[in-house]
């Protein structure tokens, strides 16, 4: 007969998934007011937008798809909402994954009526570009010559009022990349030296740890650390969106994993002591 310790290592994974699901559902339905401190990384993004020159264009670059929208959609939303609150004109551009362009557009289009933003006057969608390096190198020289037209109305960029006086990255006052990939390498490598605009990054949590060296060196002005960063930003903006609600189940699921890792390790060491299979 197998011992309790051995059983701990052989729990049917379906029970674990069921427990996880229950915790998520309970966490979403019963929001527990857990403390959430706003970190300096999220504060960096906020300050960069607050200090951005309203005469210049802000660029929100995206590389995410439906598969990471749990983190990247709320990040995109809070950044765009803050830009709109500050009445900054901005452009969307998508690299790598064409789903990005429609998903980010959807977020901006949904928020636009709330802040009286008009397409072409206050914001524009540059659309999807497959080659980030070539596109960025071109935009450093001339944005309009490189991109040619927008992606919604498919008209030449110079026909939009928002593009008046915007020639290259000298006329850009803020850059943010919301991404599920390592696009920051291209932005920092090919654009950083050509503009004074602060560069902020909103990666998925998986990628965030590798970004700290760039924050430390000052190359990245601020970062939204996955869903947690978006929740911190919602707090700074004073809104209660999806991430404010989701941060409770995030914390609960992490606690569950701590417990399960603890139990698994206990089971392994206990069964070793008993001379059983480890």
């Amino acid at each position: 007969m197998s011992s309790f310790a051995e059983n701990l290592q052989n729990i049917d994974r379906r029970y674990l998934y069921l427990t996880l699901l229950l915790i998520v559902v309970i966490g979403l339905l019963v929001p527990i007011p857990l403390p959430l401190a706003v970190g300096p990384q999220a504060r960096g993004v906020y300050d960069a937008i607050e200090k951005a020159d309203p005469r210049k264009l802000a660029i929100v670059s995206t590389l995410w798809s439906a598969s990471t929208q749990g983190e990247n959609r709320p990040q995109t939303r809070v950044i765009i909402e803050h830009l709109m609150r500050r009445k900054l004109k901005f452009a969307l551009i998508a690299f790598g994954d064409p789903q990005s362009t429609i998903l980010a557009y959807e977020v901006a289009d949904e928020l636009a009526p709330k802040y009286g933003y008009k397409y072409g006057r206050d914001w524009i969608n540059f659309g999807f570009r497959a080659d980030i390096a070539g596109t960025l190198k071109g935009m450093v020289r001339n944005i309009e010559e490189t991109l040619k037209q927008d992606t919604k109305e498919r008209k030449p960029l110079h026909q939009f009022p928002i593009m008046k006086g915007i020639r290259n990255f000298d006329d850009v006052g803020f850059i943010a990349e919301v991404s599920a990939s390592a696009n920051y390498v291209s932005w920092l490598g090919l654009v950083a030296g050509s503009t004074d605009a602060p560069f902020c990054y909103a990666p998925t949590s998986v990628m965030a740890p590798e970004l700290y060296t760039y924050i430390d060196s000052g190359q990245i002005a601020g970062m939204l650390f996955g869903i947690k960063g978006a929740a911190e930003y919602e707090r700074m903006l004073g809104i209660k969106g999806f991430t404010t609600r989701a941060i409770t189940p995030v914390s609960l699921t992490l606690i569950l994993l701590f417990v399960l890792i603890g139990l698994g390790n206990y089971g392994m060491f206990a069964s070793r002591r008993q001379g059983g299979k480890a």
Partner: protein, 219 residues
């Protein structure tokens, strides 16, 4: 076009989500069906986007409507890549690959310098920080920042020692330094693992919220 918020779109999203989650129980035909649908849709959408957003406005229209006929040579350059599949003409593909490599190498050279030189510069930190060195409004005390910087220096030296493979690490000082470096790397990997778990949980929560709120109207 059915929009994401349209009831039909929500039902399709819900059925797709449940079908993909069914893998948790066991491998099944429904999961495979929706997996193939997802991959097919993504591939189809990418082709459509590549044509409408890039090729048509930047290549086809200038070539056919604006009289910029030299763009036709781009097609020839692109076709050269496919000669790699023939033994007789595969040397021709090297022309296109060579041009592309040249572009990539030039960009990589610039990108590497821009990426890493600021980091090397940023790694020179004062080990004794005074109040005047801290940015205005900083919540860190000079002592705290000094300790941070000392820790930074210790970690950078120990980790770099671990990756120093030019000679055998026989010296006991170097061995213990490298071992400390490895330990520090473990801390970093732990942080990355924790972040990965958080990311996956966030994606799960998003889907569960979609099913509960958008599909079933709960919450």
């Amino acid at each position: 076009m059915i929009e994401y918020s349209h009831p039909v779109g929500i039902w399709i999203g819900a059925i797709g989500t449940l079908a993909l989650f069914s893998l948790i129980l066991k491998e099944n035909w429904l999961y495979r069906l929706f997996e193939h649908m997802f991959i097919g849709l993504a591939a189809g959408y990418t082709i459509k986007a590549a044509w409408h957003e890039i090729l048509k406005p930047q290549w086809w229209i200038p070539m056919t409507r604006d009289g910029q006929w030299p763009w036709a040579f781009a097609l020839f350059g692109g076709f050269l890549f496919y000669t790699i599949f023939t033994k007789r003409y595969n040397w021709m593909s090297r022309i296109s690959i060579g041009i592309l490599l040249g572009f990539a190498a030039g960009q990589a050279f610039q990108a590497t310098a821009n990426l890493y030189i600021p980091q090397i510069r940023g790694s020179f930190k004062p080990l004794w920080v005074t109040q005047s060195m801290l940015p205005a409004g900083s919540q860190v005390t000079p002592l705290g920042q000094s300790l941070n910087n000392i820790l930074f220096l210790v970690i950078i030296i120990t980790v770099m020692t671990y990756f120093f493979f030019s000679f055998e690490q026989k010296n006991r000082v170097i061995q213990s330094t490298a071992r400390t470096g490895r330990l520090m790397l473990m801390f970093a990997f732990g942080a990355i693992f924790g972040s990965t778990v958080m990311a996956r949980m966030a994606l799960l929560i998003d889907r569960v919220w979609f099913l509960m709120h958008r599909w079933l109207g709960i919450g």
